[in-house]
Symmetry: C2
Subunit: 415 residues, 2 copies
């Protein structure tokens, strides 16, 4: 199956909004075995819309049209659709009922523009839009399928997932898919690729692996394509089981979880608490932890000690150690972590001290040098990291994620 | 002048990357008085590229082509361009020199693919790409201009700004533009619109105002279009001068500055220091401040006091006040801010205490209730805010920005 996406809207052409809809649809179609031939963005213009649709019909067997629907401007698009498919507008009662219900629910008065949204091309299949007032429309002509959807992303996504893709699957020209993303931290992408190379090479034909790195994690997305979703899920889970044996220390979660959520769940289960002392990460770790709803149940608090004086006064780091080893040292990291654990009466604590950059590095301790210490009920652990690059924000993010990953492994007894 | 943008690359069609280039070009063109007729994304396919270019030529007088250039795949695009413009590839020495220089600079060996990048269509004007190895190409045919640029965003942006737009301006079919963005904080968008309504209505014809709100600030972008950039700049600055008299308390900066940078600059100038005590913002304010390079010169540190015990023990908040007024109260905010100023020996301090949500609200103190206190060398100030909505991250961001804005105004002696 070969598709073209047509997006309608002046706001896309003048760069007021970025057309993320097309990329999202492209990704869904790619995973369903539908090839995207072209993406075309056109203005809110009757003749131009018709030209684009007629042009697409020559090349593909599926045309997806988004945008150009809505109370203030859908006349143009609907009229263009009527002209393309040799039909006229007719009143569609279920759509009016939906519009009335939504308006009464929100306590807003309807106007003529809203009511006009229930006038739809006579020969289309109406796709119910649970998320808004403008329905989707499905046309078939000369062996080509045409689908028109509103451009509001969450409405379009709902329609595509629950109305369009199921109908496309019924044509027998698409495939079933299942995908799951493995979240890893602590092994750089190129080293990870080496470690899992033989596992990757042995993946069955119908399972594809994609690396999706970001500063927070290297994510491995497994996508299986075939006939039966339940079988695909089992296949993917089996491969992930094997992967867990190869890189047990690196996997911290799946799909959209964050490391802070995973840690929060572990601490709630154990009835234990956490505190943080931050130097180079400057509050970032505390922000990650407190971004999780319910974190006050296990998080006591933090100290950002940006000056040596605060390290001494609030965390009890000894002036001699600061003098002898410097603030960025194993000794100071350990005194910071034990100090904050004591001051905050916590079961676990994290401490960071390093040089985030872009300035402040020396030959011995270049920008990117970070000591991370973790302490728990039974032991204290410290490790030095040397992140490459002088990008301040990236060094902060990497230090924070690395510290949380070390904490996770200490709590699990892996370190 | 009317333009079509053609983006080339399989990665766009399968949704692996979002086509932000087109939106950016659309925005630049819109501001230069160039109308965008259509955006078309096509695969890395010889025939398809030619079809798209020939199709565009019928409708517009400027065709911008991005992507499809680079050492591994530019053969397809360059061959297609040669076919479109009835020419053949020829060796371009300045391009090879650039490639050689870049490689020797990075200490990497060149291969044949790299060398082949110096083979360019004979009848094009070569646009020097300071940012990479693939140059831009400018063709003219039948009164239409065609420009081909690499798809790497920072290379494309450089070429468009410094090579393409100046040449387009020489055609006399574009306009001069100047734009400046005013950053405001503290007045909601709808109220701001009311307060500046008569100013906005009195703006001269050639200056347009756009509201660009985000959780960090409401940004007002003034764009002036005309013949002479220096005159436009003077016109915009004059209008901003009038705006400053209407909303003096809300404007904190211009263009891409952040509030934390503005505050940092003020504290450096004054040789003063800052400390923070965070409850509901959980480390976010400290993270904003320490994201600024050089912040260790004026930032002493922070305490995130997520439990009452820490408020008492580390910040010296009195148990009686916590008991009597609750943690989210004026009294506790003031004791927190004065406590952290004392503990951290700072000239200024910020404290926040509130309910970020989504849970934890009461009838008296709903989610979004936040007390912010600021203290300085001469006075302590506290104010209650009630942010609408239960979105945790948004409440944290709003509280943080509001606190920094209050601090800025206290330092300036405005509060």
């Amino acid at each position: 199956m070969k598709a073209e996406i047509i997006t309608i809207g002046d706001e896309i052409l003048i760069g007021q909004i970025v057309d993320t809809n097309s990329a999202w649809i492209g990704e869904q179609f790619n995973r369903s075995g539908i090839e995207i031939y072209q993406i075309t963005s056109v203005r809110d213009d009757h003749d131009h819309i018709i030209e684009a649709i007629k042009g697409a019909e020559k090349n593909v067997d599926l045309v997806i049209i988004t945008g150009g629907l809505g109370p203030t401007k859908d006349d143009i698009t609907r009229d263009a659709l009527c002209e393309c498919f040799n039909t006229k507008l007719t009143f569609h009662k279920p759509t009016l009922d939906t519009i009335i219900e939504r308006f009464s629910h929100r306590g807003i008065d309807m106007n003529k523009l809203n009511r006009d949204q229930a006038m739809l091309p006579e020969n289309c299949t109406v796709l119910y839009n649970k998320m808004g007032t403008a329905p989707g429309m499905w046309f078939e002509q000369n062996d080509t399928i045409f689908v028109s959807m509103p451009g509001v992303p969450f409405e379009m996504k709902y329609l595509l997932e629950f109305e369009v893709l199921p109908r496309l699957r019924e044509t027998g020209k698409t495939k079933a898919i299942f995908h799951k993303t493995v979240l890893t931290q602590g092994i750089p992408e190129s080293m990870l690729a080496e470690r899992i190379e033989s596992w990757e090479d042995a993946l069955p034909e119908h399972i594809k692996l994609a690396y999706l790195p970001n500063p927070m994690a290297v994510r491995l997305r497994l996508s299986a394509m075939g006939e039966n979703e339940a079988a695909l899920k089992a296949d993917v889970e089996k491969e992930i089981g094997s992967l867990q044996e190869i890189i047990p220390e690196a996997i911290f979660g799946y799909d959209t979880e964050t490391m802070a959520e995973v840690i929060g769940r572990m601490l709630v289960e154990r009835g234990q608490t956490l505190a943080v002392a931050e130097s180079c990460t400057g509050g970032y770790i505390s922000h990650l932890i407190t971004s999780v709803s319910g974190s006050s149940a296990y998080y006591n608090g933090s100290v950002t000690s940006y000056s040596n004086e605060i390290k001494e006064k609030v965390l009890g780091v000894s002036p001699q150690k600061l003098e002898q080893f410097g603030a960025v040292s194993q000794e100071v990291a350990i005194e910071m972590v034990e100090g904050v654990k004591r001051v905050m009466s916590a079961d676990y604590a994290i401490a960071t001290t390093g040089i985030a950059g872009p300035d402040g590095g020396t030959e011995e301790k270049p920008v990117g040098t970070v000591w991370i210490a973790i302490t728990g009920p039974t032991k204290t652990y410290a490790q030095k990291f040397t992140f490459v690059g002088k990008h301040r924000e990236r060094n902060i993010v990497r230090s924070g994620q690395t510290a949380l990953q070390l904490l996770r492994r200490i709590v699990l007894g892996e370190l």
